[in-house]
């Protein structure tokens, strides 16, 4: 009998040697005359266990990890193809607490299916949302998304249904769906995981968006740093077109939707939606003034839906199961689930999809297992390089857009970067300003010049030069950037700095008791 063995092709799994592990498994099976079918799946997101190998058994899938090439012969000795016991055994995959405790909606298939198998995809509810959408009027598709309470997962958390409605209402000969796959935030990788591990989910979500607003063409703008995502998307698009789920006359409906992947070129600012559009059009990535909204005059001047990968990737299940189903997860105005990304100095880094409302403490300790270094966790940067540094006193605030905003922090794209007590928040603040200076598009002065002044001022503070005066200067500089920048790069780069000053003044040489 042929045994199905899974070894992820996910970039992070390969970063730990998955390709060599896969090759070793094939070679070992051949040597022993054991029949196997190797599937290169996505990652389950239990990254500290990568490369994680799974074997299909009558009881379910059994996991082993981390499996390097040199472990492979021993695993076969222990009866790998029958799910035999070994020092690297993790038991039934679905029973691993890290996975079992999650609420995987957007990531329901990632790590389970072969990313290029239509059969696998449809067996796991794939294209159910599309089939439903094909039977609905455009306004009813939009209504389903509005009812779900889905808000943009790219950072700004704008209600997706409202955006779609604006584009639906716009009159034009051509409309576009653009997927923002620029995922530039440090501490994030959920877009990448989905594009590599379940690219058809994004394709389906974009096709549904096209049907909803009357767009017949879509672009996926994927960052250049993700070559494997680009490869997988292109391959999946080809397969979907051949199978009739994409392109001309989708499933015989008479509706068309074409999808093109565009590669970025290493500019963080191109994650900002109007800069992204400039880039697709072949220009420098200068941020555009708004209005006009991209929803009315977006790509090539036409009405355009721009959404993050996670937003669009959540659409298929919303359509398949209904807006109400999705809305039942979450708290307050943060509905549904968010795929949190646990990164940095953590023992168990990975992807945790949960309904909004859980706390950082649960993520850091119940899931993350505490710091990788074994030292106390001192600060967590939530929401990317423009997000605040959150101190332990705030670890119990529920992860909810509004609750975080109340304390000057943001949930953003759901990335957490964990630092132990060796971190120097003055240095991290300096880096935040440096990053802003490097990535500024240069259109407005507070961002372009302010960030460079910020670096200089923090350097003086670190060196102990006229500390009081320079801290006042830094605060006023942050204020100018916050209020005078055209987009959130300059407008939010002060958040990490201000939060560091507020919660960790001692790192700037300020007496904690004296600081207000």
């Amino acid at each position: 009998m042929t045994t199905r063995i899974y070894v992820p092709m996910d970039s992070s799994a390969e970063a730990m040697g998955a390709k060599k592990t896969a090759a070793a498994i094939v070679a070992e099976a051949e040597k022993r005359g054991e029949k196997i079918e190797l599937v290169r799946n996505g990652s389950r997101g239990l990254y500290w266990l990568e490369p994680m190998v799974e074997v299909e058994t009558p009881e379910g899938r059994v996991a082993y990890g981390p499996v390097t090439a040199k472990d492979v012969a021993g695993l076969f000795d222990a009866g790998l193809t029958k799910g035999g016991k070994h020092a690297l055994s993790l038991g039934l995959t679905e029973e691993i607490p890290y996975l079992k405790k999650q609420e995987r909606l957007t990531f329901a298939r990632v790590g389970i299916i072969d990313p290029f198998s239509i059969e696998d995809y449809t067996k796991h509810e794939g294209f159910e949302g599309l089939k439903k959408a094909l039977k609905l009027a455009p306004a009813d598709i939009v209504k389903e998304v509005t009812d779900s309470g889905l808000r943009g997962r790219g950072g700004a958390a704008f209600p997706t249904g409202i955006k779609w409605n604006t584009v639906l209402g716009a009159q034009a000969d051509q409309k576009y769906i653009v997927c923002n796959a620029d995922e530039g935030d440090s501490g994030t990788f959920s877009d990448r995981m989905l594009m590599e591990g379940d690219p058809m989910c994004l394709i389906e979500g974009m096709t549904i968006a096209g049907l909803a607003v009357g767009a017949t063409k879509g672009y996926i703008y994927c960052r250049e740093e993700y070559p494997h995502s680009i490869r997988n998307l292109n391959k999946a698009i080809e397969i979907c077109v051949k199978a009739g789920y994409l392109g001309k006359n989708i499933l015989g409906s008479g509706k068309d939707f074409d999808l093109i992947v565009r590669e970025g070129a290493g500019a963080y600012i191109c994650g900002e939606e109007t800069s992204l559009l400039e880039s697709v059009e072949g220009n420098r990535g200068l941020v555009r003034f708004k209005p006009p909204l991209p929803a009315l005059q977006g790509l090539f001047g036409k009405p355009t839906v721009i959404n993050n990968v996670m937003s669009l990737g959540s659409v298929p299940i919303i359509l398949a199961r209904g807006g109400e189903f999705y809305k039942n997860y979450g708290m307050g105005r943060s509905r549904g689930t968010l795929p949190f990304q646990l990164t940095g100095n953590l023992k168990h880094g990975g992807l945790v999809e949960k309904a909004f409302g859980l706390t950082l403490r649960e993520l850091l300790y119940d899931f993350g297992g505490g710091s990788a270094s074994g030292r106390p966790i001192r600060a967590v940067q939530v929401g990317g390089p423009l997000g605040a540094y959150v101190p332990e006193s705030q670890f119990d605030i529920p992860l909810d857009y509004e609750e975080y905003a109340k304390v000057g922090a943001m949930v953003g794209h759901g990335g957490l970067v964990v630092f132990d007590d060796t971190v120097d928040l003055a240095q991290m603040s300096r880096y935040a300003m440096e990053f802003c200076a490097i990535e500024s598009c240069g259109k407005c002065t507070p961002c372009r010049i302010g960030s460079t002044r910020g670096v200089e001022t923090i350097d003086k503070i670190i060196a102990g030069k006229e500390r009081g005066k320079n801290i006042a200067l830094l605060n006023s500089l942050c204020d100018t950037m916050l209020n005078g920048s055209l987009c959130a790069l300059g407008g939010m780069a002060p958040y990490p700095v201000v939060s560091a000053l507020k919660h960790f003044p001692e790192d700037f040489g300020i007496d904690k008791t004296a600081a207000a």
Partner: protein, 162 residues
């Protein structure tokens, strides 16, 4: 640095092919620049007039786009591209010390190429491997949990795989 190498006939033909193939795409400049860099390893200044002509845009505009984006290179690079992640998650796991080691062991700074022409070095800001930081990218592959020793191994492997 001041002398611009001339494109070989072969390279000129590649350029013409790329332009013919892509110039009628909507928003053709990015696909064209990527194709040129994939083919030649960089985007030589000499390609600018041909691109400008094919797209009916000014040379200054094309030049402006090329220089705006970190990824497009206006100088030739080594056989292998090594990028070190400088972003926060990697910093939390010691990337600052790793950066020092990388520069010292290769004997070059960012934007530099080793004397043997084997390895070029660039900084990068997040590779999406933040759960297994610190991270580097070697050509199109990521390496995770990069210690100094692991880095040396990777480089040795690159150099021996000629």
């Amino acid at each position: 640095m001041t002398t611009t190498p001339t494109l070989s006939d072969q390279q000129k033909k590649s350029l013409d092919d790329i332009l013919a193939r892509l110039k009628d795409e909507p928003g053709p400049l990015f696909p064209i620049l990527h194709a040129i860099q994939d083919e030649l390893g960089w985007v030589p200044e000499e390609t600018v007039p041909a691109i400008a002509k094919a797209l009916n845009r000014s040379r200054a505009e094309i030049h402006g786009v090329i220089t705006f984006y970190h990824h497009f290179r206006t100088h030739p690079v080594g056989k292998h591209m090594v990028q070190v992640c400088r972003a926060e998650a990697c910093q939390s796991m010691g990337s600052v010390a790793l950066e020092c080691h990388v520069k010292e062991s290769l004997g070059i700074d960012y934007h530099g190429t080793t004397a043997d022409g084997q390895i070029s070095l660039e900084a990068v800001y997040c590779l999406g491997n933040c759960a297994l930081s610190p991270s580097i990218r070697v050509n199109d592959d990521i390496v995770g949990r990069v210690s100094k020793e692991r880095f040396d191994e990777v480089i040795a492997e690159l150099r021996s795989a000629q």
